[in-house]
Amino acid sequence: MIDFLAAAIRIATPLIFAALGGILSERAGVFAVGLEGMMLLGAWAAVIGTWGTGSEMAGIAAAAAGGAIAALAIAIVTVRYRADNMVTGLTVNILALGLTTYLMRILSGSNGPVSVHLDPLPMMPVPGLSQIPVVGTLLFSHPPLTYLAVIGCVLLAFVLTRTQAGLLLCATGENPEAVFAAGADPMRIRMLAVIACGGVAGLGGAVISLQQVGTFTDGMTGGRGYLALASLIVGRWNPWGAAAACLVFGAAEAFELRLQSYGIPVSSYIVQMAPYLIALGVLALLGRTGKLPAAIGKPL
């Protein structure tokens, strides 16, 4: 059981990163539909960066940069040129899928499809703490990026509620005109928020490629960006709420892996749909109860 929960946490890690990024973007007033594309570009950049430099740190940095570049495109098109959030996000998602697939082919040159195989990031038990029974296994025996996700939650919760930057960010999603009247530049704030969203979502991509798998395959994010989007809505644009929702989805997937390993005769495709069905159910139940940022999706 404890192993199962610990697995759920690890599986939820990429979702948590993406959801945190999405919160930044949506709180500033831009729908985070492009999370999937940002993650995918991040996942790709993480593998290529690590492979090229031999340093995992460099790979992780490249992932953040990759996600941020995808986000930059979205920021320019939606914020600067006031294009529709949904359409732009979806376009970037499709573009990212095509681009990463193509770049993998190019890099492989004539020697057939490249196969970069890296060792997945190792477990990094926290000395001392990981020895505590139950809690140790549950919380302190994880690979490095999982810890970073938790730190990300703490940090984002602090920034949103306790700092001037967070206040300005949320205000921009509610009433940009008032932000302008207060002497700040809402357009700049939105641009920065979306780019930061890309950076964080890119880290989510790195978790999948570097920490969970150890290679890049075409379209490997497989809809997790959308699942993260659902989580942040279910979590009411609040870092801890979103993380909790991600954990539920993580648990659903961990459960599915269990079922498979026990050889229970249910089609794995059916089981794989579980997280998405849960998401649909919860979203329908919540309906419009939560309050979206008032000015989300509205151009400046």
Binding site: Q164, L167, N175
Partner: protein, 495 residues
């Protein structure tokens, strides 16, 4: 006392429109200057120039001995000027405290909530603002929200406050409180520019007045010993305060009839209105006025009860169908419900009747006829703009309101529901609108006139009802009105 602000020969032209045409304005520390003038005379423009929202074409500004030019709102704020916009610049989903801290350097990069909350408390107590730092803005009435803006200005050490029509959407009690707060600010040595169309407020609180007319300013005059009608004359060149005489009309058919009409926050209400009758609905804002107006006009559904117009049950009809059977509606919310700001004056004028002549022929819009009609309405209702193609949003507040009034009155409706129709109009224009509404009545229409301006209601209503907590607290004929009784009803002792 020292001159705080000197504006010299400010000019601002919008194409051929001389919004400001060489205006001088001085404000001393500890002085409240009333800025008066007809709709479109250039008051808002002058203040936008001062605050750096629009650049002037020529002229100079000296504030606290330093030249201000080429500035934007940010620099104006930095210099110590605060502008309280008519549409508040607040985040509804946040608390008072968060709104105060927003964008304010002294709140710190990591917010010093406790410290700032303390200062909010202090200033709030000193000025009698009565604001709880932890209340959410969305839960506060409009008057309180405005005080947040004042609080922000004072905390940021503004030496000069600009208030552009701050009282037009406040209830009478709230207006009184605001004027008290302004006097306290004056005694702290701050300068205030106060724009309003309501002359009693000017006499109450201002030290001096400047009147704008067609972009030019009168010399500053003291208000000591000046009467209301003298002020009105200064503004429009004639006395506008004479009461209306309603001629008696008998034996008119029943035009509007409500039975146990009930909606969210409203009713059950019974209502009977004959042709040639104006029913004035008085009451403190927020007692169901908005709900009543929207339920009558079909914008929100009635839960139960009936509503008949000339005998036809319209309670289930959409607002479009109600329009067709003869109902006209002037909403109070001109920026959202009444006008499309990004469309031209002509388009806004035809909005309700775009399917009918003269706007439409054989299913196609007739441009020529539309513009012609618009021009005639603009002349009739004195809508001041460059042309019928001008975007409604670029007009002065009062002129925007006149578009709504022209559109609805021109339809010659059987029943008119008017909610605060004179909002933001100067005294001359107010008088004109009231006259037109009375003329509509004399032509046999029934009118529901909802307003928080008791004076207007008393001036034109045949009967007066007081709305309190969504129900009629009382109903009297004009001849039998006692102000004290109305006051009692308004204070909502209905239990």
């Amino acid at each position: 006392m020292a001159a705080l602000l000197e504006m010299r020969a400010i000019a601002k032209y919008y194409g051929p429109v001389r919004a400001n045409d060489g205006i001088d304005l001085d404000v001393r520390a500890g002085e409240i200057v009333g800025l008066l003038g007809e709709n479109g005379s250039g008051k808002s423009t002058l203040m936008k120039v001062l605050f750096g929202i629009v650049p002037p074409d020529s002229g100079g500004i000296v504030f606290r001995g330093r030249e201000l030019s080429g500035h934007r709102p940010r620099e104006a704020m930095g210099a110590g000027i605060a502008m309280i916009h008519q549409h508040f610049m607040l985040i509804d989903a946040m608390t008072v405290l968060e709104n105060v801290m927003l964008g304010w350097a002294e709140a710190g990069k990591v917010l010093r909530r406790g410290l700032i909350a303390q200062r909010v408390h202090e200033v709030s107590r000193r000025l009698g603002l009565d604001l709880d730092p932890h209340a959410r803005v969305a839960d506060l009435p409009l008057g309180r929200r405005q005080r947040i803006e004042i609080l922000k200005a004072v905390l940021r050490n503004a030496e000069l406050l600009i208030l552009d029509e701050p009282t037009s959407n406040l209830a009478p009690g709230e207006v009184h409180d605001l004027l008290t707060i302004l006097s306290r600010l004056r005694s702290e040595g701050r300068g205030i520019v106060f724009i309003t169309h309501k002359l009693p407020e000017v006499l109450d609180v201002c030290d001096s007045v400047v009147v704008l007319r067609a972009g030019k300013a009168s010399p500053k005059a003291s208000v000591v010993g000046v009467s209301k009608s003298q002020l009105a004359e200064m503004m429009v060149g004639r006395d506008v305060a004479a009461p209306h005489i309603l001629k008696k009309i008998d034996n008119q058919p029943l035009r509007l009839e409500a039975r146990a009409l009930t909606g969210a926050g409203l009713g059950p209400l019974d209502l009977e209105l004959r042709g040639g009758e104006i029913l004035g609905i008085a009451g403190v804002d927020g007692n169901g006025q908005f709900e009543l107006a929207e339920t009558l006009s079909g914008l929100r559904p009635a839960v139960s009860g009936s509503l008949r117009l000339d005998g036809r049950d319209i309670v289930r009809m959409s607002s479009a169908r109600r329009t067709r059977v003869g109902l006209a509606y002037m909403p109070a919310d001109r920026s959202a419900t009444a006008l499309v700001k990004s469309m031209s004056i002509a388009e806004n004028l035809m909005l309700r009747d775009s399917r009918r002549r003269p706007y439409c022929r054989n299913g196609l819009l007739d441009q020529g006829a539309t513009v012609e009609k618009a021009n005639s309405l603009m002349a009739q209702f004195d809508i001041r703009a460059r042309s019928a193609d001008t975007k409604a949003g670029s007009l002065s507040g009062g002129n925007q309101q006149k578009i709504v009034i022209a559109r609805e009155l021109d339809r010659a409706p059987a029943v008119l529901v008017a909610h605060q129709p004179t909002w933001g109009l100067d005294p001359g224009a107010t008088r004109f609108v009231l006259e037109r509404i009375v003329a509509l009545r004399d032509g046999g229409a029934a009118i529901v006139y909802i307003s928080s301006e008791l004076e207007e209601i008393l001036a034109i209503s045949d009967r007066i009802a007081v709305l309190s907590a969504g129900r009629f607290a009382g109903l009297v004929k004009r001849e039998a009105v006692e102000k004290a009784q109305l006051g009692l009803w308004m204070s909502g002792r209905t239990a």
